[in-house]
């Protein structure tokens, strides 16, 4: 058995960068009793060649950039012990990596990459800040504040809850365009902890809060019809 994470569909160039930065392919050798391991790889191929016919003996210009990195990270996880667990490699080495490409042919562009392995690489806040800096070595105060908060809570919304909330989001956008008079219903439907429906969208509502919001929205016939049409 071999399991690989794919990122075949991405929402934005920034998201693509995230996937490139991730570039981590965990392989689980599930058919044997061998210990699992993580393989972290990155690769870049960028090249330009300007040339004329060899018979003219005109000069050629070439620019190339070809590199690859590979890290084999052994872990303590043995799939024979717990095949159902998605984690279990608590003693694996920690890896953080990033690759950024920014117009290498401009005066200010360039390529840079960061790769660090080890517990300190991901546990120390300084490492997170280092990786969040842009190609000029700068970090905006707003970004720094967001990273600080992210490192503190690390809240993750369950994917099933996220899908259920997304149906409400779709209904919200369709209502805004088709039934704008009813849009206020969305603000009224969310739990008191959320100041508005947009706060509900950017927050981490519980499964119950999502269910309650949907129930309240379905009390409106128009919104109920819109919700029923969303697959």
């Amino acid at each position: 058995m071999k399991t690989t994470n794919h990122t075949s569909k991405l929402a934005s160039p920034a998201a693509l960068l995230a996937a490139a930065a991730l570039g981590l392919l965990p392989f689980f050798a599930g058919c044997t009793a061998t210990e699992n391991h993580v393989i972290a790889t990155t690769a870049t191929v960028i090249g330009v060649e300007l040339s004329q016919s060899p018979t003219t003996t005109s000069p050629q210009a070439k620019l190339g950039y070809n590199r690859a990195e590979f890290a084999y990270v052994p872990t303590n996880r043995n799939v024979k012990k717990d095949e159902s667990s998605a984690t279990g490699a608590e003693q694996s080495a920690d890896v953080i990596m990033e690759l950024r490409y920014d117009g290498i042919f401009s005066n200010t562009g360039g390529i840079y990459q960061r790769l660090a392995v080890g517990s300190n690489a991901v546990k120390q806040r300084g490492a997170a800040y280092m990786f969040a800096r842009d190609n000029k070595g700068e970090i905006k105060p707003e970004t720094a504040a967001a990273i600080e908060k992210a490192l503190d809570d690390g809240a993750v919304l369950d994917v099933d809850q996220n899908r259920r909330r997304d149906k409400l989001r779709q209904a919200y956008e369709k209502t805004k365009s088709d039934k704008p008079d009813s849009i206020g219903k969305f603000d009224e439907a969310v739990a008191p902890g959320f100041a508005s429906f947009t706060a509900f969208l950017i927050g981490n509502p519980t499964a119950e809060q999502i269910t309650v919001a949907r129930t309240k929205l379905e009390a409106d016939a128009d919104i109920k019809k819109i919700l029923s049409e969303i697959k």
Binding site: N5, H6, T7, S8, K9, L10, A11, S12, A14, A15, L17, A18, A21, L22, L24, P26, V38, T75, R77, A86, T87, G88, A89, E90, S92, D94, V95, I96, M97, E98, V122, K123, A128, F131, A132, K140, E142, T143, A145, A146, I147, K149, A150, G154, A155, V156, L157, V159, N162, R163, R165, D166, R169, Y172, E173, T198, A199, L201, I202
Partner: protein, 52 residues
């Protein structure tokens, strides 16, 4: 300018989570401006930075 973050796991749900989070944040007027990844205790996550 408001800045928010979202943490999503880099597992089989990664692509779906990426779409869902970006759509939700976009509906609230935010756009994805930065991202980076971390691996802790064998679990890979991506931290997405949004700004409005």
């Amino acid at each position: 300018m408001n800045t928010l973050h979202k943490t999503i796991p880099f597992d089989a749900s990664f692509t779906a989570q990426l779409d869902l989070q970006c759509n939700a944040m976009r509906a609230a007027g935010y756009r994805l401006v930065s991202s980076f990844s971390v691996v802790q205790a064998g679990v890979v996550s991506a931290i997405l930075i949004f700004q409005k």
